[in-house]
């Protein structure tokens, strides 16, 4: 165990100290934080600055409770005109009868002002208008679009965060094999300690990355106010995404580490990882599909089948309501799959990593001792 931890320690120190790690951490954190802000920039609540010269304020706020309305008063029309032209206010209302705007008036704002004006005049005439009541006859879909957005983020997050860490494992295995460092390493430690330490250490590094990205995203969402749209159980969604990342990473890293031990040159890594990439891309494709149709039978069934479940289940959890027993069952199956992959992968690694030279086949490695 000690040897494994020493190997892990080296991997962590080596990775964390590289400039590439620091830069990618910052960039991905900034990017995620920025994306969490995006709804505010593009689809966030409207914000109107209105000017007034004489007359009364119109009850615009009552018509658009989401919007942020600010009124400013100006002493005379020329001052208001300057304010409109300078962009200090979007429009200015003069004596409650005319609206000064810079060119065409914003459609929505125009409607708001007209309705407010109408209501004010009708009210003045002593007539009250009962607003129409809206009643939904479907399910509660308030959070549907938010859930779908979050599910998409989970898909992308898992895709990038699993793949980037797994590739570092594969490259590291080949680096050690190709340079024959492994011949010296294996004098003092066992193959499982070397592979296990590498998977564990790079997993810690990946976890740091993931946590930074998730934290940046959440902070961004809270700062931008997007967090108010979070569906209930958001904490569970986050925890499940992180937990499934751990399982998915462990599975694919064990697979990548053992497959990479079959080759001795970095150029061959891409080729030898193809079977793993297939599994991974299928998981990715179906989980993307599941983010839009979380209850489709294909998504439902594959969310129990390792390793697909590692990406599909967290997406289903985000996109819809999934019973706890389903999550636990799927998680249990995935843990078994991870253990099995670590065992078989460890055996392949152990037998292949000292056989430098040409690319080996899994079958010949398992056949010979």
């Amino acid at each position: 165990m000690n040897g494994l931890l020493m190997v892990a320690g080296r991997e962590i120190r080596t990775q964390v100290r590289t400039r590439a790690f620091v830069i990618s951490l910052l960039v991905s954190a900034l990017l995620t934080g920025g994306i969490a802000f995006a709804p505010k920039l593009f689809g966030g609540p409207d914000e109107y600055n209105l000017g007034r010269v004489g007359g009364q304020e119109l009850a615009v706020q009552a018509l658009a409770p989401e919007a942020k309305i600010t009124w400013k008063t100006y002493p005379d029309e020329p001052a208001a005109t300057t304010a409109v032209l300078d962009g200090d206010v979007d429009v200015a209302l003069v004596d409650g009868t005319r609206v000064l705007s810079n060119g065409e008036i914003d459609d929505e704002l125009g409607l708001l002002l007209q309705s407010a004006n109408r209501e004010a005049q009708i009210g003045a005439a002593g007539v009250t208008v009962t607003p129409l009541q809206v009643q939904s006859v479907g399910a509660d879909t308030r959070y549907e679009s938010a859930r779908q957005g979050i599910a998409t983020v989970v898909v992308l997050l898992l895709f990038f965060m699993i793949m980037s860490s797994v590739m570092v494992v594969a490259m590291g295995v080949v680096e050690e094999k190709g340079s024959r460092i492994v011949e010296i390493l294996l004098i003092s430690i066992r193959p499982w300690q070397l592979l296990g330490g590498k998977i564990f250490g790079l997993g810690v590094v990946g976890f740091i990355n993931l946590t930074a990205v998730v934290a940046a995203g959440l902070v961004g969402a809270f700062l931008s106010g997007f967090a108010t749209d979070f569906p209930p159980g958001m904490a569970g969604i986050v925890v499940s995404a992180v937990a499934w990342w751990i399982l998915g990473y462990a599975f694919f890293a064990a697979l990548a580490g053992s497959l990479a031990s079959l080759v001795s040159r970095q150029e061959e890594v891409g080729n030898v990882l193809q079977p793993m990439m297939m599994l991974f891309l299928i998981s990715y494709g179906v989980s993307f599909f599941a983010s839009a149709s979380p209850d489709h039978p294909v998504a439902e069934i594959l969310s129990f089948v390792p390793p697909f479940s590692s990406m599909i289940m967290p997406v289903r959890v985000a996109a819809s309501e999934v019973a706890l027993w389903e999550v636990l069952l799927s998680g249990g199956l995935m843990v078994v799959a991870v253990a099995a992959t670590l065992m078989v992968g460890g055996r392949i690694y152990e037998r292949a990593v000292l056989r430098t030279g040409r690319r080996l086949k899994v079958s010949e490695v398992l056949r010979t001792k």
């Binding site: 040897g3 020493m6 190997v7 080296r10 080596t14 680096e175 050690e176 340079s179 024959r180 460092i181 492994v182 011949e183 010296i184 390493l185 294996l186 004098i187 003092s188 430690i189 066992r190 000292l354 001792k369």
Partner: protein, 292 residues
């Protein structure tokens, strides 16, 4: 003591790499492993270090089959050097020391002593990739020595070193041997092997052609008498064993074995004896003979 008994190794394509290699290296001995490229030196060393499995034969350490725990105390410098290129020299040496089970405090002390000895002190914070090949080799050696190994196996440790580095390395290896550690190294520099080693093994085609101390090998080769006679009477050497060659007005007679005194008498009678002596074959000559 390390004993190698009847190692056989056949590679995939039916190529016999080792065909019954046996030898032993007692404590405190320096053993030089010589042989042409592909003779089986590296294969033998890799089997001892557990990098390869032998098809037959065994490796004994102090009379018992070598275990993983015992091998962990060995120092190994493989034929193809392997270091983490982007890791700093000091950290790299420490890391391997720690993997061998040395605690952090002791590793720092051992590392400082070692890099001072090997002239790497100013390079301790440089990455390996920024070093010259000669210096990388010194780091490789430091990695093999950091845990104060109980046996040293070095594959071509002298290749690519400048003469000063060769002297430093030779001295370091001697120290270890004097401390009771068996040292095995391979080299193509036969003069070096002859100068440094207590015993030598000559391999060819996967077989140990000759092994023993340099003295023993010379004795096995036989004493060689060389007589130089100026202006000899023609035909003086007729009937004597050995080879006669002419060098201007001198005759040179080389005799292996035989009665040296009668040869001397005949030479004195034949002319002016310029030199007379027993010649010892060099390792180069023994090697050529053994491999031929």
């Amino acid at each position: 003591m390390l004993e190698i008994r009847g190692l056989r190794k056949i590679f995939g394509a039916g190529k016999v790499a080792l065909d019954g290699v046996s030898f032993e290296v007692p404590a405190g001995q320096m053993f030089g492993f010589v042989g042409a490229n592909g003779a089986g030196k590296t294969t033998t060393m890799r089997i001892v270090m557990g990098v390869l499995q032998a098809d037959e034969g065994e490796v004994l350490w102090n009379g018992r089959p070598l275990t993983f725990a015992e091998r962990r105390t060995f120092g190994y410098m493989p034929e193809e050097r392997g270091l983490y290129q982007k890791m700093r020299v000091g950290e790299q040496i420490d890391y391997f020391g720690r993997l061998h089970g040395i605690d952090a405090g002791a590793v720092g002390k051992a590392r400082d002593a070692l890099i001072g000895r090997l002239g790497l002190t100013e390079r301790v914070n440089d990455t390996v990739e920024s070093l010259s090949l000669g210096n990388q080799q010194r780091v490789q050696l430091a990695v093999a020595l950091i845990h104060d190994p109980e046996l040293l196996i070095l594959d071509e440790p002298f290749s690519g070193l400048d003469p000063i580095a060769v002297d430093v390395l030779a001295e370091v290896l001697h120290e270890r041997a004097r401390g009771g550690v068996p040292v095995i190294f391979s080299s193509h520099q036969l003069e070096l092997v002859e100068r440094l080693c207590d015993s030598v093994g000559i391999v060819a085609g996967g077989r140990m052609m000759a092994s023993g101390s340099v003295e023993e090998l010379r004795d096995a080769e036989g004493r060689r008498l060389r007589v130089v006679v100026r202006d000899p009477k023609p035909g003086w050497a007729d009937g004597l064993p050995g080879e006669l060659s002419k060098d201007g007005d001198r005759d040179v007679l080389t005799v292996v074995g035989g009665d040296d005194q009668s040869v001397l008498r005949r030479a004195v009678e034949a002319g002016h004896v310029e030199s007379y002596g027993v010649e010892r074959p060099t390792l180069v000559e023994i090697f050529r003979e053994a491999v031929a």
